[in-house]
Symmetry: C2
């Protein structure tokens, strides 16, 4: 660097170059919006400009973006948001009374009765109270304290904030963070950015991507040789793997965290997205408290939720919250200080979150429509989850676990050796080569399994189940045909 500095003065090169930038940022990767998605956007432009392709549109099954896939917003939510945005509409008789009541309550909690005012950095107090009540109801009455609720800019924001608090030390004392493989790449990206040590534990593909305590222990013991493991991250229901953890598994994880003195991070943004028979969402908080005070008074945890997934799929509003359990009061003060630097989460997203945790009640005029819309989304998703597993498993060379929950399937694909060689020749990882070919030939945008992590020598892709049922059937059929064609070409 010193020589570069001296050179800089004579050369007058740029101040900021690839060589002179933050090396942690260089290490960040985020496949969900990586090169394949950039190529997809390019292809879309080419199609618009009239370039001939073997397809007429690009189907982006790379990201859990429900509205982009045609899902309609929940009417009640958007009515309230319109009322909050333009309160003159409160005089309009076309809006139902419960929507107006909700909007008025939110506006009264805003500075100057405007969603254009900053909120407190932790989030609007009455919304945090509603979140706490929602959690209590969800968890069968286990108490939740609004002071432990922090609203956030989507769940990502809160996840990164908690990781930032936790990461310290140098060399062998550097904080290690355990994440599942396959993982959602926000985690690896945040850890690279913070310079933390990523500790991989592998989910068991042969057992529906379940989490295995023996594997957790193996990963932890290996990591203790070179870093200070302090954090265990869980995604349930799973992204990208779609599994739903059993109550027993969650209990085992909590016991493990306590024994091994780990801070638990429970990413539960898909808590309403459970489809498979016999599967049920159990919150880590609930299980923790059911395990008794020995656990509920000691295990430190943060749980994350978002407005972007479930039945509402309101990604653009960037709403979310986290609940912290057993967080040191001094650390809480530091957390509040840290979030205050960014002033506050977007207030429209906070308002939306309030509606999600406090939807229309049976005695309110919007209830029937709300329930109809909610049920329709969730039952369609359940149908698409089944359909996806079913069709993929008819393809020789594709192995697909049941999509028990969340919005994704992560099937394993068998690639011929010649395809693997060809990919290497092109400098691509094999499943990236596969997905790029699929994109160029059929206009379908998936994310290669390598973007999420996978066991050495295995290959996968992540696909969302969000396209409308008819389109999803076409997509599945096209992938089927592509896979057979691709396999044949390289056999």
């Amino acid at each position: 660097l010193k020589s570069q500095r001296l050179n800089g003065i004579s050369h007058r090169g740029r101040v900021l170059t690839l060589d002179s930038m933050n090396p942690n940022v260089k290490r960040v990767e985020y496949a969900v919006r990586g090169p394949i998605v950039q190529r997809a956007v390019q292809i879309e432009k080419e199609l618009k400009e009239g370039v001939k392709k073997p397809f007429t549109e690009v189907i982006k099954a790379n990201i859990g973006d429900a509205h982009a896939m045609g899902q309609k917003p929940i009417t009640f939510f958007r009515q309230v948001l319109a009322l909050c945005s333009y309160p003159a509409l409160l005089e309009d008789s076309k809006f139902p009374e419960d929507a107006k009541k909700r909007a008025q309550r939110i506006l009264e909690a805003c500075g100057g009765h405007s969603i254009g005012a900053y909120s407190t950095s932790q989030g609007i107090e009455c919304i945090r109270q509603d979140v706490a009540r929602y959690i209590e109801k969800r968890d069968g009455g286990i108490p939740s304290n609004p002071d432990n609720i922090y609203l956030s800019t989507g769940a990502s924001d809160a996840i990164v904030t908690i990781l930032k608090l936790l990461v310290c030390g140098e060399g062998r004392d550097r904080t290690g963070v355990m994440i599942s493989i396959p993982q959602y790449p926000l985690y690896s990206a945040a850890l690279a950015d913070l310079g933390a040590v990523q500790i991989n534990y592998y989910l068991d593909e042969d057992n529906c991507w379940s989490l295995n305590i023996t594997e957790l222990r193996r990963a932890l013991n290996a990591a203790r040789e070179h870093c200070n493991p302090r954090v265990l991250c869980i995604i349930n229901p799973g992204n990208p793997t779609g599994q739903v953890q059993s109550r027993q598994c969650i209990e085992d994880v909590i016991r493990f965290a306590k024994e091994e003195h780990l801070f638990l991070m429970a990413d539960e943004v898909y808590q309403d997205n459970v489809y498979a028979e016999g599967c049920q969402f159990h919150s880590f908080k609930k299980v923790l408290f059911e395990m008794g005070p020995e656990y509920s008074n000691t295990v430190e945890m943060a749980s994350f939720h978002s407005t972007s997934k479930c039945y509402m799929g309101e990604c653009g509003f960037r709403g979310g919250y986290m609940e912290v359990i057993n967080l040191d009061p001094e650390v809480k003060a530091q957390l509040i200080k840290l979030v205050s630097v960014r002033l506050c989460p977007p207030v429209p997203g906070q308002a939306l979150l309030d509606l999600v945790v406090n939807p229309p009640q049976p005695d309110e005029p919007s209830y029937a429509t709300f329930m109809k819309e909610r049920t329709a989304v969730l039952s369609t998703l359940a149908e698409k989850a089944r359909l996806t597993e079913q069709i993929f498993n008819t393809v020789p060379g594709i192995t697909c676990n049941p999509v028990q929950g969340a919005m994704y399937t992560f099937p394993g694909i068998t690639l011929p050796q010649k395809a693997i060689d060809k990919a290497k020749e092109l400098g691509l990882v094999p499943d990236m080569f596969y997905c790029m070919r699929l994109l160029e030939e059929d206009g379908i945008c998936l994310v290669p399994g390598s973007g999420f992590g996978q066991r050495e020598g295995t290959y996968h892709f992540r696909m969302t189940i969000l396209p409308p049922t008819d389109k999803l059937k076409v997509v599945l059929q096209k992938i089927r045909e592509f896979h057979l064609r691709f396999t044949q070409e390289f056999s």
Copy 2:
């Protein structure tokens, strides 16, 4: 740490404590929402609970939050936002045609025509185009490329992102960042968080808080002894100091940045907030390009803007953008990768930004109302800027520079030695003691100058000029009386 780890296993203390957390986070300070504001919130609660105080409400003049101070939103902006939130309203004849047209255009640019879809991480393309056209118009035709525009979650988000790219190196090679003193504490907070070296250059209080190149050079040379200075941050119009930089000053700064091989960060979020006779906003971009290709082809720069200030004051929406100039293409790719991890800025904030950069035109139905509302806000602010300076300068012991722009005044206060001693006895910095007393006695919440930085031995506070004129007069009068009382008490 190692001993603590071993202890952890026997003691079973918390995983995350003040001692075991990220030390950079501990160093973060953010006075605008610091202890004094927390006390203000507490007092508000006490008032609600019926606790008797010498006042009936807390006036928060600590933060530039226009709507919280009673400023009304721009009607056109909120109409479009309501239409975007609940597109069924597009059928409603009560909404003007231009608002509908704007909403339709934004919705068409959204995935699935919903602001609930994620946008691209850089921001919606047609909005970036509108931003580029706005900049071109503002800068008298100097071209702006939408590819250089990055939408953000308020300006803070973009500022932190650029700093993150720039910070690297260890020890004497650690990146140094030059910031003005007094500064807006986002900068010091971000630098602490990133572990960068903060290099203070002092604004000249005796010359209307102007920036002096000799002082810049002094600060830079001193810093070169212990770090690698690579970045120069400017806030114009100034926060907290309210000065507006002359064209000549900006030219000098740009020349300095080029000579000294510094990356320029121009925080221009108050670009519409210029009040003083003879003052005018000059963008760094415009001056850079007017200095000729020797400068415009080489000086690396990022300029920041926001929806939170100016005449709209829509803080809660967290809208903003930055324009980058001469950024290395490889670094641009890294920047896009980095912002993609957080998926996208809030889409309602993006929509709002679109309206700010592309407001109603003279031939459109909403133009007259829009102009009336905009002018009313800005002329009232100008009046309040004059009033503030005038009244403060009648108080012995308060010295107030003209509020040429932005939304704040940062007067110097003379504190009696006995007050300084008393503060020290209480473990408070003297201007914190002063502001706390003012809060307890009169319910007025200001931020102590120490939260922004000031020359050793001088004392200040920051006050926004945002309260409604009548209330502002009361506030100024109360501060006047408090100051006299305080001075007397400690004389």
